[in-house]
Symmetry: C2
Amino acid sequence: MKQKLTVVKVGGKIVETPHSLELLLQGFARLDGPKVLVHGGGRTATDMATRLGIETHMVEGRRITDEAMLRVVSMVYGGLVNKNVVARLQAAGVNALGLTGADMDIIRSHRRPVRDGIDFGFVGDVDRVDADRLALLLESGVVPVVAPLTHDGQGNLLNTNADTMAGEVAKALAQHFDVTLVYCFEHNGVLAQADDEKSVIPLITPEIFQRLKAEGVVSGGMLPKLENCLAAVEAGVGRVVITRADALGNGCGTRIALA
Amino acid sequence: MKQKLTVVKVGGKIVETPHSLELLLQGFARLDGPKVLVHGGGRTATDMATRLGIETHMVEGRRITDEAMLRVVSMVYGGLVNKNVVARLQAAGVNALGLTGADMDIIRSHRRPVRDGIDFGFVGDVDRVDADRLALLLESGVVPVVAPLTHDGQGNLLNTNADTMAGEVAKALAQHFDVTLVYCFEHNGVLAQADDEKSVIPLITPEIFQRLKAEGVVSGGMLPKLENCLAAVEAGVGRVVITRADALGNGCGTRIALA
């Protein structure tokens, strides 16, 4: 039987609120066994860009990344957010190591081609994750903290969506481990009623997903998120959990699994 | 006999000029055997601070690092400079890994106490370097690229001078390797006549240093630099070389050794 491993994705809203981040890191530090943290930082990047007089353009929730914006996200994701999370995890007794895809060539990507007239600029779509190298680190007790940056192998950093990074890392590590992928956000889980935090849907299987979709219970931005989660479990990730950041490790939230 | 290892320090002036950086990285990529790159980035940090409306204060060539400036150096050193160097080394076939002192707890420091009424703020003086962990990485073919940031083990990043970092890393690794420490800068070496690039002093031993100092041949900022180099060789570093960035690995420059 494979050893259990947890991949946790935490988004900008939590990373950028000191109190929420502290709770998240405490919860993450308490998780047993090998683990990986993947973080965002989009709000800080947007704020920093604004302070530098650089306009932020988003298309379908994704950041258009020109050269100036690439410098901003390299600084904010790779430096400011990543290294502070690493230092705080070290203080909590976790042997954290901050990584972008370029470090040890962990995650290689290619620049997204122009489609439908939209050029996302220096945005990378993941080609491969070096699961062997990550597994070696994990087996030596190191806890990777992954910033949403990849590289193309030709010297260019690329901006890659953190949710996607977490999914790709989880899928690759499923070769070595029994993986649980946890998406932390500000709600208790996937809600049946958007305004009722008690209406958490406990389990979503491919069958349940089709029903929820047909009934219109899940819609909008949650649809592609759940499709990604289902793709991850279909690719070998044991289970995906969507939960509140401060409930990490409590067994709460929505569980996405094949059955 | 110990295996040879090279620790290269490259300063801001070179890191921040694309052409100089490219030459430096090409030279670094060609160096045989295990190696470590330690970089600065002070000029970019100063520029970024200015763009963000943050004033830079220096005392004796060292940056006063308040909270706002710590954010700037965390971004610039840990993200912008470090990750771009890593990506470019990867493109040159070097399996680079970007590190601050916080990553894997590689370099622990304490906040510099207020002395003579000068509070440097979030500046760290190095307490220890985890040479065993670095040696493990080096033995697995990984090339550490070290940003001038350390941590205090209590969750705080600290700004640490890159020359000092390089010296401390070289001294610690001297337990495992026969270390050559190379300081790359814009001159051919330590010059006997400041305006004559052909007047490189080829060798400086402790004895020669005393003579050069008494004769006034070396003075000013070069004195503490050379004292640091001599301290490194006295602490077990095989030799220190001060040379032009684009002459890395050519055997040029000034060699500082015990004899």
